[in-house]
Symmetry: D2
Subunit: 358 residues, 4 copies
Amino acid sequence: MSSTFGNKIRISIFGQSHGEGLGVVIDGLPAGKALDLPQIEAFLDRRAPGRGGAASSARRESDRPRILSGLFEGKTCGAPLCAVFENEDARPGDYEKTRDLPRPGHADYPAFVKYRGANDYRGGGHFSARLTLPLCFAGAVCLQFLSEKGVSVGAHLLSAGAVSDRSFDPLMRDESELLLPQKRRIPVLDEEKAEAFEALFEKTAAAGDSVGGVIECCVLGLPVGLGEPMFDGLENRISSAVFAVPAVKGIEFGAGFEAAKRFGSEINDPYGFKDGKIITKTNRSGGILGGLSTGMPLLFRAAIKPTSSIALAQETVNLKTNEAQTLEIKGRHDVCIAPRAVPCIEAAAAIAIADLML
Amino acid sequence: MSSTFGNKIRISIFGQSHGEGLGVVIDGLPAGKALDLPQIEAFLDRRAPGRGGAASSARRESDRPRILSGLFEGKTCGAPLCAVFENEDARPGDYEKTRDLPRPGHADYPAFVKYRGANDYRGGGHFSARLTLPLCFAGAVCLQFLSEKGVSVGAHLLSAGAVSDRSFDPLMRDESELLLPQKRRIPVLDEEKAEAFEALFEKTAAAGDSVGGVIECCVLGLPVGLGEPMFDGLENRISSAVFAVPAVKGIEFGAGFEAAKRFGSEINDPYGFKDGKIITKTNRSGGILGGLSTGMPLLFRAAIKPTSSIALAQETVNLKTNEAQTLEIKGRHDVCIAPRAVPCIEAAAAIAIADLML
Amino acid sequence: MSSTFGNKIRISIFGQSHGEGLGVVIDGLPAGKALDLPQIEAFLDRRAPGRGGAASSARRESDRPRILSGLFEGKTCGAPLCAVFENEDARPGDYEKTRDLPRPGHADYPAFVKYRGANDYRGGGHFSARLTLPLCFAGAVCLQFLSEKGVSVGAHLLSAGAVSDRSFDPLMRDESELLLPQKRRIPVLDEEKAEAFEALFEKTAAAGDSVGGVIECCVLGLPVGLGEPMFDGLENRISSAVFAVPAVKGIEFGAGFEAAKRFGSEINDPYGFKDGKIITKTNRSGGILGGLSTGMPLLFRAAIKPTSSIALAQETVNLKTNEAQTLEIKGRHDVCIAPRAVPCIEAAAAIAIADLML
Amino acid sequence: MSSTFGNKIRISIFGQSHGEGLGVVIDGLPAGKALDLPQIEAFLDRRAPGRGGAASSARRESDRPRILSGLFEGKTCGAPLCAVFENEDARPGDYEKTRDLPRPGHADYPAFVKYRGANDYRGGGHFSARLTLPLCFAGAVCLQFLSEKGVSVGAHLLSAGAVSDRSFDPLMRDESELLLPQKRRIPVLDEEKAEAFEALFEKTAAAGDSVGGVIECCVLGLPVGLGEPMFDGLENRISSAVFAVPAVKGIEFGAGFEAAKRFGSEINDPYGFKDGKIITKTNRSGGILGGLSTGMPLLFRAAIKPTSSIALAQETVNLKTNEAQTLEIKGRHDVCIAPRAVPCIEAAAAIAIADLML
């Protein structure tokens, strides 16, 4: 495993889905900053089980961090910040029966081979989406530091299955639209679409199936020139963090894959002025050129595959007996992980940017 | 800049498009391996200007590496391997007139701000696609080491504009199809499509425009369980390397963005047996689950935006006079960078995998 | 702060002397190894307050690790291992009165400046020797992995003030002498010297003073050729880890500073054979040539300065009033930190070597 | 090998003693700084063969850097800086006869085992002290950046064999004494001692032997609080860089090993004021407390073992025939490497500090 991220700020994540506890150490934070814990907890609540309407798992965890170090008199003190979470509603027994049956779509089989059977198979162990809890904690902390520098991050559920929200305005100039989705039960821009998403999730759940989605994320307020190409440019670093969120299978910046279908005259962003400052008049680059921020909104989209745990019968193999077998997964699973992944993607982006910026 | 990549193998790339020379240091290679230089040069030739038919720039460079260190009696000797290339056909004067005019789509403007005007603006300096030459050298070296472990890497031009090649077979079992595109002037699988690509490139060139494309890449022969999640999983590391190739704006693994539109029952790959070994019967995961290789072909696609340098007039601003201005780019540019980017994407993948594997 | 160490194995240490708790995350350990917790606790006991005879502080902590992650069914499972310790006998009030008075020899003053007054000043915060507790935990874990590869590490108190133990035999061939000091109250080779050390500590304590010491450490069983020069050779990596132990002010390998006074003919180790294997007939190199292990015992010495906290009156300045002031330190302090630092040095060496070897 | 150093600035060194060429890539330097090349060359001249009086080798190299990248119009441009040196006076044939005979004191034997015989044995290959040439280049570049921040670095030959120079004044307040040794043929503070050193070197050379030495180094002008403990404190980072200089076998900061013999009341530095600023009245800490700079002169000493290549007959083994054999080393070797190592130690210190500071 390599659950450590960052150069200036080093984040080390630990824990398993049904183990004793999980958490994160954040090393290298600037000292003297008062952490707003209620704000951090509000952030964590956005990924909590139970959010995302019909899409969400029934596992219930309070998910309140216990901060062991790094704070002194309420402020960061220069020492590494460690936050620990207990697993309160773990039900490791749920996984006993299917121990030898790798679940399609999960890491079970390659993890079994890699760790020669010693991996904690219960709920995916360290591969579980539950590990996004400490990731979100780290992201929420980074967001507070970024906020001081005028940087804010927001994301929304752009699509799931065939249902779509509208996109962020790539020329947006303030946070009004950015933070809108956070206030909603389903994190969308266009409130009227929430119902269509809910209907999709309910229908999918009823079918014992799951569904994928796309998350769009925007970072506002970046200075011009952030990024360290060739290998630590904004795209390299953000993708490197975002792929730590389980189920992400693709990422694109600005026009992304659409740009591959177009002509240069359609994709190049012409330069101009606005309020005396240099801007691009369009923003198909997603605010990144040559790995560097242009000062325009940074925009990317992440593709989230359907939740791998589904109730429908699936073909698998028994790792002990080496026989083909049919698997039916019980347990508490999200129909669509994308709504709860929205803050996780924000957190990943925040961590990548804080590491370049602080 | 941070043009250094890798943990076990450390690659450090240097040079500017129209500077003295460029090259790469590769530290951490196993000792005692005879390097096949003609094979490396053949690999470099695939990205050389002049390849890619009508798509390609007219700049002519011999692009032969001079190896300064790391080889002894023809074999790697444990010491860092350094290869240097001279810039022979540099024409820095081409860029003099437009020094103060950032070219839309290029890194010029954010680089100017970041380096406070001290950046080498000529042909993009260190941001130039010419820097993929040492990247390809490093990739070609890594490929030789990977080849000893039974791993091979191949890519092709999947699409450009509205023209498409067929896709790799995600269940392919040998190299026969993998290496096919390398033998062709336009690196495609389906030879009959070459003509349609050529026609697109010619028409686009005639219009003074450029066009984007998608490259599909496949890695065969990986052991099960390669990757170090959460942050050094296969997707994190490959994307981190691939975004070092200029013009890449998106990456997706397996079903990628398509997975976001589908149900779990359509995307999960059922397990089964083939020749006594565990396989997945489909391969929508692209050979990666939880950041780990499954043993199936690893498949990803990279979106390449249209070449930013186009002959058509574009709006820009003068960084000295702070006035709006029209820019017409002369010089020697690829109509579509994607064909020549094919070996670059292979190189990036090879580097990422070698760093996890050697 | 940068309390993260390692490339293959990544160790992240957190905590403050009088904070909530402290601990360590160890990422990258091989999976499937049963941890011997009693052995780890026995190792921790060697650094516990109360050891080292008269030299030791009166602070009483049980120092039992709570393992939050990384173990499954008693074995390492591939996921990061996190161990947490509670601070049970913290007395932060002891430090209130002297908050504005930097203690000579401690990090108080530069830490105050660096963190602009936000640092946790109580007992040195993250700079405290208490942070060697998680370091020792990490070292004890690494020792178990090294032990499987035939590598063992031992250290002893070579000297304190003017009192000296005898040195390790630089040609030692088995563990008999290596592990001797661990069984003693004062970790010395020559049992008869224990009394002289005790007498020194008692006299020093009575004088309200403290005293320094030298620790000699030996690593047995290394394969030939371990180390990655120029910058990750054995000396670079071991010193990099050893200077994380507070109060270390010097390190020397083999003949060390003595070598600087001698001729080449006295210092070069001649080669020969023993039992059919190539050996050096002497071992003034300390088992390291060119940063690589020679296969002979690896030997180094670390200089430990006297405990900075002494009862005697000292001159300091008031950081608030900017006035000169006299400081008298109350509290519970080791007269000589060196005896308790013996396992810390072993731990640091074990971590450095495990990171190169596993 | 791992010849890469640094986090903010990344230095990658390549080359072998008798190979094609050698050099260094420095990534992450601030842009827009005019490099003073004559000053860099003057620095390199201080380590050139022929310096150090009778102590020095007869190999003659012009050692002029060719800068391939990173400069534009004479200034750093943000891109990695690469400097290459040719090997002009290489005589690889000198080493042919003794190919199978590992030289006592050199890395030959462990390198042979590590690289399974593929290592470049000629003159030690990448292990050669010749590799300090690119190290010195990198150091000289860093020194120019440090100089802008008011930081300067100087070193001198403190002792060799039984001959000693006087020490730096640990409370020195300006550069007058710091830069004195650089102007002398033998880099000493006390000019009258030069003769005694010369006599020692001549006598030692006549005896076919070599001799070791101690280098003392001082860094002036550091801000208070530089360093990132626990693992990237000043001592960790400086030692990590200094042990890359071949033949270094020990390092101590401030009172160093002497501190281990003393009482706290003798070693703690009392605080006071000078010109309104907080100072320590003594400086036994060597300007470092808790891994952080105190603002006082940073002082350390490095022990250099005698040159391993001596003319006297030595015992070795034949790696091919597995027989004991006598070795007589011909060739051109420094009697005492310490005088020429003086700028190397300065360079190593400069690199470590620049990496923490820039």
